[in-house]
């Protein structure tokens, strides 16, 4: 890819009933960056994510992922493409009847022809990479805490060494310390594995610590896009309130201090 754009969304319209949630939205995600997507509740962040990965139908526009146009791709091409991305759902979406190890092995078992020994080693390696211990490998999802569930879900999303990882609110429901750890984990993994991360989030801290660029969705389009400093200069009312408001303001001051 010469222009280094891994996800190219153009003129996207997605809606339910007679209401359009995304209204002619365009967005680029570059290779090996962490893009944070923010917006008010109900602005369509998750809808955008779910449309890109093909869970929601779109009304208009094109989506190109890793150079493949999703409308023109046939079944085999789509399957091949799906193996090149991993998704972490908001609630983890672990298979409740499989153990942690089996959850991580599931994509490997279905897509690759590996020996049992390598399957085990790789599953445990992935679990250790996301900060879990081999002891956790034989637990069932119902025995995990919220933070552990997210980590296992991340390990499963990374199972096939994807090029893009979609994260839907990875830090929601975690305490600030775990959330901070999780941001750091995403940052480290992104650097070691050189993956592109598309992250939908509400968490201001994540935007500051983990993301390279931020895209703000409001009124169905991307109203601001760029590194965090650009956000602080934006004149859009929602962006202003979000980044300069009571909660955002403190972080913004700290960031500017660090920069100067």
């Amino acid at each position: 890819m010469t222009d280094n754009t891994v996800i190219k969304v153009r003129d996207l319209v997605v809606g339910f009933g007679d209401q359009n949630v995304l209204d002619h939205l365009s967005l680029d995600v570059r290779g090996a960056e962490i893009l944070g997507v923010v917006g008010a509740s109900g602005a369509g962040k998750s809808v955008l994510l779910r449309t890109i990965i093909g869970l929601l139908p779109k009304r208009h526009g094109t989506i190109e992922v890793l150079g493949v146009n999703l409308d023109e791709a046939n079944e085999t091409e789509r399957r091949a493409l799906e193996r090149r991305w991993g998704v972490l759902f908001q609630q983890g979406a672990l298979f409740s009847s499989l153990t942690v190890r089996q959850n991580v092995q599931f994509p490997m078992r279905e897509n690759l022809n590996l020996s049992p020994r390598l399957l085990d080693e790789m599953a445990l390696a992935k679990l250790e990479m996301v900060g879990l211990t081999p002891k956790d490998a034989d637990k069932l999802p119902s025995e995990l805490s919220g933070g552990m569930t997210k980590r296992v879900a991340l390990a499963r999303a990374l199972a096939l060494d994807p090029e893009i990882v979609f994260l839907d609110e990875p830090t929601s429901g975690l305490d600030p310390i775990s959330a901070g750890d999780f941001d750091e984990l995403i940052r480290t993994l992104q650097q070691t594995l050189e993956i592109t991360v598309f992250m939908v989030t509400h968490d201001l801290e994540s935007l500051y610590t983990a993301c390279d660029r931020v895209a703000v969705i409001a009124d169905g389009i991307v109203v601001a896009e760029g590194p965090i400093l650009t956000m602080l200069e934006s004149e859009h009312p929602w962006v202003k309130t979000y980044f300069q408001g009571k909660r955002g303001g403190m972080l913004a001051d700290r960031q500017i201090e660090r920069m100067t």
């Binding site: 409740s96 009847s97 490997m108 897509n111 690759l112 022809n113 590996l114 020996s115 390598l118 085990d120 080693e121 790789m122 445990l124 390696a125 992935k126 250790e128 990479m129 081999p134 069932l140 999802p141 119902s142 025995e143 990374l158 096939l160 060494d161 650097q191 070691t192 594995l193 050189e194």
Partner: protein, 377 residues
């Protein structure tokens, strides 16, 4: 394909490996066998060098196999060096050097005889536990019932009407259809076989007594167990999974009183009603078949039926119905409240609920048969 991924050359006491191509997940199987092959054929070598310069892609699968190769080599006290690794892959290899350090505990394999005995033991203990659970639920429902009797204003009447609509009213069409067909089939078989002795009229006795005493109530109970018992278990089970039942308890409500009691009462009311409707439909179906297939006019069928059956037969069937409703309700609710976190457990408990309630309904019917025979009904 595969050979260029890893080639080895022995130079004196030094083994030189040259890696190339894609060391990625899609080649992991070939890579693994190549990596495992290395240690086998190079006993003489003292040192090993792996040249990674010509590797085009490296992911965690490749990096781990590389790490496994060097670890195996180093485990026998020999030296291994990696050369020519691109700088941006250092982080990945470093990450891999930290993982899988603790040995993987192989899952212990049990003796098959022992594990067979264990499962038999578990099943027997489970059977005992089921009996206790059943009695427990019966007791809890009894207590809740008494409590509600002392404070009738607190009874959840709306919930009960809603359940009555689902369990009784909405079940009427399917019950009518099935029992109508069963009545017809019994009449046809009776006429077909009794005709050989010229005793076609007795087919009416068969139809009347069998349906009123046994078949009507049994068919209805089995259908209700499959239709409503399973939905009770699934409902309560998913409420348990989403902590709704815990929420009720913390707000000071007794889940038995709020959720279980109305459901069981509804079954106790619904089963006699459905049994009555079902029995009538079956008698009607029998009469229709007797007329169309056996050539027996409706007048003859009705007068023969009046001679053959008595109020006792009708009573026997109807007395059993509420008890069967109670059994189905207790089993369904007890199983539902035992659901654990996983989707699989919900499925298992729903199956168990239907199987156990049908089994208990038939056992109960047998016990009633003995009871009624000994009191001469």
């Amino acid at each position: 394909m595969g050979e260029h991924l890893l080639t080895s050359k022995l130079k004196g006491e030094r083994l030189e490996l040259a890696a190339g191509g894609s060391w990625t997940a899609s080649h992991a199987k070939e890579l693994e066998s190549l990596v495992d092959g290395v240690t086998g054929d190079a006993v003489k070598a003292k040192t090993m060098s792996i040249d990674m310069a010509r590797v085009e892609e490296l992911d965690t699968f490749g990096a781990w196999l590389l790490e496994r190769l060097t670890r195996q080599w180093q485990a026998s006290g020999r030296e291994a060096v990696i050369v020519g690794l691109p700088e941006h892959d250092f982080g990945l290899l470093e990450e891999m050097q930290t993982v899988n350090r603790s040995p993987i505990a192989a899952p212990a394999r049990d003796n098959p005889i022992v594990s067979a005995l264990v499962s038999v033991g578990r099943a027997s203990a489970g059977f005992g536990r089921d009996l206790i659970n059943f009695a427990d639920m019966l007791g809890a429902v009894g207590i809740a019932g008494v409590r509600v009797l002392t404070r009738p204003s607190e009874f959840r009447f709306t919930s009960m009407v809603h359940q009555l609509d689902r369990v009784a009213w909405q079940a009427v069409p399917i019950i009518l259809l099935i029992t109508f067909l069963i009545g017809g089939i019994i009449a046809q078989q009776g006429i077909f076989h009794f005709r050989k002795f010229g005793a076609e009229l007795y087919a009416v006795d068969l139809v009347g007594i069998l349906i009123l005493r046994e078949i009507g109530v049994l068919i209805v109970a089995i259908m209700v167990a499959g239709r409503s018992g399973s939905s009770y278990t699934a409902e309560l089970g998913s409420m348990k999974m989403r902590e709704e039942i815990d929420a009720l308890r913390t707000m000071g409500f007794d889940p038995i009183e709020v959720l279980v009691l109305p459901r069981i009462l509804v079954l106790i009311i619904a089963l006699p009603v459905l049994t009555f409707i079902g029995s009538m439909a079956a008698l009607y179906g029998g009469g229709l078949v007797a007329w169309l297939y056996g050539g027996m006019s409706p007048d003859i069928y009705i007068s023969r039926l009046m001679e053959a059956i008595s109020l006792t037969h009708f009573q026997v069937g109807m007395i059993k119905a509420p008890f069967m409703g109670l059994v189905i309700g207790i089993v369904a609710c007890a199983e539902g409240l035992q659901v654990k976190g996983s989707a699989e457990s919900l499925g298992l408990k729903t199956t168990a609920s239907v199987v156990k309630s049908i089994f208990l309904v038939i056992v109960l019917d047998g016990m009633f048969a003995i009871f009624f025979a000994s009191i001469g009904m």
